[in-house]
Symmetry: D2
Subunit: 378 residues, 4 copies
Amino acid sequence: MVGGGEGAFIGAAHRAAAALDGRIQLVCGNFSRAPDNNRRSGRALGLSPARIYPDWRTLIESEAALPESERMQALTITTPNQLHVPIAEAALRAGFHVFSEKPAGVSLAEVKGLKSALDASDRKYALAHTYLGYPLVQQARQMVIDGALGRIRKIYVSYRQGWLSTGLENSGNKQAGWRTDPALAGASGCMADIGTHAFSLAEFVSGQPITHLCAELRSHVEERRLDDDGAALFRTAGGASGVLIASQVCAGEENDLTLHIYGEKGGLEWRQMAPDTLVHRIPGGEVRLLRAGSDKNFLHPRALQGLRLPAGHPEGYLEAMANLYRDFAASILDGVPANYPGIETGIRGMAFIEAVVASRGNWVALADTVDSPTEVLS
Amino acid sequence: MVGGGEGAFIGAAHRAAAALDGRIQLVCGNFSRAPDNNRRSGRALGLSPARIYPDWRTLIESEAALPESERMQALTITTPNQLHVPIAEAALRAGFHVFSEKPAGVSLAEVKGLKSALDASDRKYALAHTYLGYPLVQQARQMVIDGALGRIRKIYVSYRQGWLSTGLENSGNKQAGWRTDPALAGASGCMADIGTHAFSLAEFVSGQPITHLCAELRSHVEERRLDDDGAALFRTAGGASGVLIASQVCAGEENDLTLHIYGEKGGLEWRQMAPDTLVHRIPGGEVRLLRAGSDKNFLHPRALQGLRLPAGHPEGYLEAMANLYRDFAASILDGVPANYPGIETGIRGMAFIEAVVASRGNWVALADTVDSPTEVLS
Amino acid sequence: MVGGGEGAFIGAAHRAAAALDGRIQLVCGNFSRAPDNNRRSGRALGLSPARIYPDWRTLIESEAALPESERMQALTITTPNQLHVPIAEAALRAGFHVFSEKPAGVSLAEVKGLKSALDASDRKYALAHTYLGYPLVQQARQMVIDGALGRIRKIYVSYRQGWLSTGLENSGNKQAGWRTDPALAGASGCMADIGTHAFSLAEFVSGQPITHLCAELRSHVEERRLDDDGAALFRTAGGASGVLIASQVCAGEENDLTLHIYGEKGGLEWRQMAPDTLVHRIPGGEVRLLRAGSDKNFLHPRALQGLRLPAGHPEGYLEAMANLYRDFAASILDGVPANYPGIETGIRGMAFIEAVVASRGNWVALADTVDSPTEVLS
Amino acid sequence: MVGGGEGAFIGAAHRAAAALDGRIQLVCGNFSRAPDNNRRSGRALGLSPARIYPDWRTLIESEAALPESERMQALTITTPNQLHVPIAEAALRAGFHVFSEKPAGVSLAEVKGLKSALDASDRKYALAHTYLGYPLVQQARQMVIDGALGRIRKIYVSYRQGWLSTGLENSGNKQAGWRTDPALAGASGCMADIGTHAFSLAEFVSGQPITHLCAELRSHVEERRLDDDGAALFRTAGGASGVLIASQVCAGEENDLTLHIYGEKGGLEWRQMAPDTLVHRIPGGEVRLLRAGSDKNFLHPRALQGLRLPAGHPEGYLEAMANLYRDFAASILDGVPANYPGIETGIRGMAFIEAVVASRGNWVALADTVDSPTEVLS
């Protein structure tokens, strides 16, 4: 693992998620550029001092030099965005599989380069679009594929947080610090950080690439250098239209990612903060709640596969991320086909970021990238 | 009353709302242009046959000819939009107060004309922006005025219905029929019908006029002649920005009007379908639910005034509309200042409709109308 | 109307509910034993001074002396419990129909006497079990009748309020005053006031008389003379069992009346504070939300009949009570069969109160009263 | 680990929960009495064949014979109830710490014996009362301790499941099989399985031992040999009273464990199926939602300690159980005081089971066991 030292929330989440199913073990790491933090973090995790590396290059080189039976097999990257591609490419070159935080990189061109590297190797690459790992998100996608909603007309996705309502980056908060620094985060703050989650959720469930958008980004806190808020009208390849909202200045909101999708025959609603219920509305007045843990009469196998517990025993964010890690491990260890977000999703996300930044209130087309919005097609 | 014959939902709602508090009595009407429907409707309401009039002109003339102690005092208009202004003007000329369905008319120019007529008379005019009559909408507005949220940054308002997902207008549904007919509804379908509710709710609670918007309207059902769906990015005079969504093709949705508003210090959420709770989010993680019926420690007098029952006894749509009628009656009978949406709100709504229709995906400015989004300022 | 002067919540609710559908008009009243309150209340309601009577006996005598076309047709009783039967009997004798607050009286014997008087007359009698007027309560009952749940096994009903958590009766609160005074309320406080609502809801929806119960009542506030809290285990004639909870010292609760009922094939849940949703759980994991306003594919005609508005326009407590008044008026004016709670429901309630007071922690049988728990059978 | 082979839900939950924080590793097991299941289960978990033991005695003996640095340190017991104490005692004698499923055993006497064994050893013993590991359950307890509710008056706890609505035990379902078999489960089915959870939650949050109860148990499915349903009225040592409901025949219910607790100054509500919200009701009408992940201004350190993620990232059942494992590991590895449910909670649970089975509709006293309902006092 690179990144995820003391004070970094997402690194700890990756470790817990990877550990949950008992097939993945943390063996080495470079947790921080600060030597003290790095050392303390590694020790607290029970690593041998020899495998707590001072920087990511040393980590990759040293592990590659170990006998095959001892060295790590895959590298998790949880650094600021601008290092995602350089580390991923180095890891691939050294023969390691990669599990990267999103966005995949800081520019579409850079991530296309990474795709070329991947295409030329036989290594696996997973992108931490954790919300796509929720079983009922899979269920929603399958219901759309199976035509339960008919032709899709409307997609509304919003992701509201409040934690950047004040200038946290000026008071030493590391997570706020790098996310608002163009040198570390890239051309976008909020849209890269959470807008990409909303975007990939919309494309994943609808099965329709977003082709055009008209967006306005804002920065509400004085001297903040990147967007902390924005919204976009959009159109899809399949003739649907919708609205995407992403904001980190919705004071008081926690982590409210919500999707509504409507077709000719009904609608679905999913809320990340109550992830074990998928609302299915059917014209006429009936509302069905599809529940995580329901039996096979109600849920698609793809959804059931991501559930560990009977209905009524809540599973959450770590379990959703663990689903990605489990499928990633299965593709490496058991040779099953990749069934998790990968480089195509990463490319789509970069196309989104570049379009949303370029729009400035005008309609723009997303770069033409791939036919399908994501490769998780089971 | 003009309009509201058999099969018309909104007319019956007006009658129940007006009756609720015991100060208003239905004395005459022209309920339908169809003589049979008109007669049957009037009789079912217990009116004397002499005061069931064949058309609205006859109604106004005949009532005006009655002795003052016998004639109606105010006229409710629940016809299709294109008649709102002609009937209102005739009623005013004949000396009657007017309670009109929204939108106020079919063009901004026409409604400005109505305003002139009103300015020149001493009659009262109320507009059925029912949702502004909900006590917790009043509470939200007062909290914004009192600074509970700090400076407002974001306003999201969405109004989702599903009842026009199919071509109801082609199968004899009267309500769908006139709402999708430009000759009766005006230049907009969905935006005039429900978009104006979302718009006035946003302006009323935020206290900020919307100055610019960028909208896309759609018509999803074949051969439908007016928009049944749309969304807009917008900016306000106070520097806030937001998103307005209105759609009648969200299949399976009932009547989901929802407002989120955020300032520097917190956020409010109100949902019309659960109108007795106002969610107040405060950064740090506390969420307060302000409940209808709460005692005076928690609610503003303006909100308490609109409540008839102790907490936990649900009050709904009719009670909200009854609040407008009660205040309308009080302004006529007791001479208290108008405390309900009126012609200014109507003008704002027309400015909205014209802008949203004109936008076609571009940023446009709303016509400059009034300083304050609504006159209900208590 | 007798009772319902200034400061009395329930009288105003009766007036609004009766007015809602436009067929019932308030023509006279004795609103308070206090002459000032009585006069002010009557005037505020627009009554002619001649028909604001100083006491209920005068009201009945005077109205009976008026010409038939002028006098009231039915009398609403909203006094403390000990007057319910005396006034009802006097009204019946004078030829008036009666709409009484619950409980029907202060003892089973007294209410049986009232039933004899009713049986000997042709007048109508309705009991204000308002919660039975909610459309989705009717829906729940019909689903049980139709076998949607199979044989009923479990019934849980709880009614939690918090308003008597302190000694309100010692600080001049009238409503708390009479409800905690055995001379005015009868042998029970909480159980007579709200326990009877829970009891009648359980019997009405399940269609099964409760035959035995084991209850503990408590009085939590110092010097309070009647129960303010209690719970009972119970068994029904149909072999089901359950739990009834009623408390007025659940500090912070508003008016939380909730029913869960389960049979072999599924369960239903209804909450008065969100009355427009009926939750239908079906084994396997599907949950259906039946919504007020849904179309006829989903709701029973008996439920649809109680709805005035399309789905998503909330109707509440006043509309539920208005349903009772509407059906009461229809039975008087149109001669349709009674379709509202009446004297049988009143007798069942008295049997419940007497059993729950007598139990003191032991199993007791309810008095054998009627075969059916209530006469509202549509 | 003993138990938890293929088809056993709870064993897999223990493994995931133990793994989550990276301090506990599965090293050996006896997963089933069926050799095939045992072997397959062990291999699927990546254990070396030598440490997949044929029975629990062999497991304990063989592990004890390994060098200290290689052998397991603690044993998780997830067998049917009748083996809990025998295995725990053997494990303690061999020097292993024990993490046992609940109930602690099949009789109070047996569990008191286990307590003596524990008192005589220096080994740790944890009981899988998973629901006590939820952060907001800890918060609720701390708020009661801190007097936020004032003196406690009412405790309502209900645990509703539906999965035993039919005779699953007759169709080869293992989990239903042993839970309804007195030889394996002990004297109670539903009350031992889930009633104990409801009971321990009530005592843990209120801080008050339940002293008396009056219960009725039922068995609804033909030929079922143990209770599948029941309810009890109860009183506590501190003068509160309440109701406990536990049923496994609430058809359609998933795993609905809900607690309401009220004191003189307010009430708390917690629902396991939405575990990240604690509702705090304050008389007058304000409702506060305390949210998991809230910052330290709102949550007690004891609650914060059990949270891994920022607000709005749902944590669920596995995380709650992982909290018990983490504290268990900390008490073994770091020597910190025990901070999880242990033998005292087990003894209380047994006293509850024996009382509830003995009651048969009469008031009975719980055996006098310990002063405090549980030892988790932090």
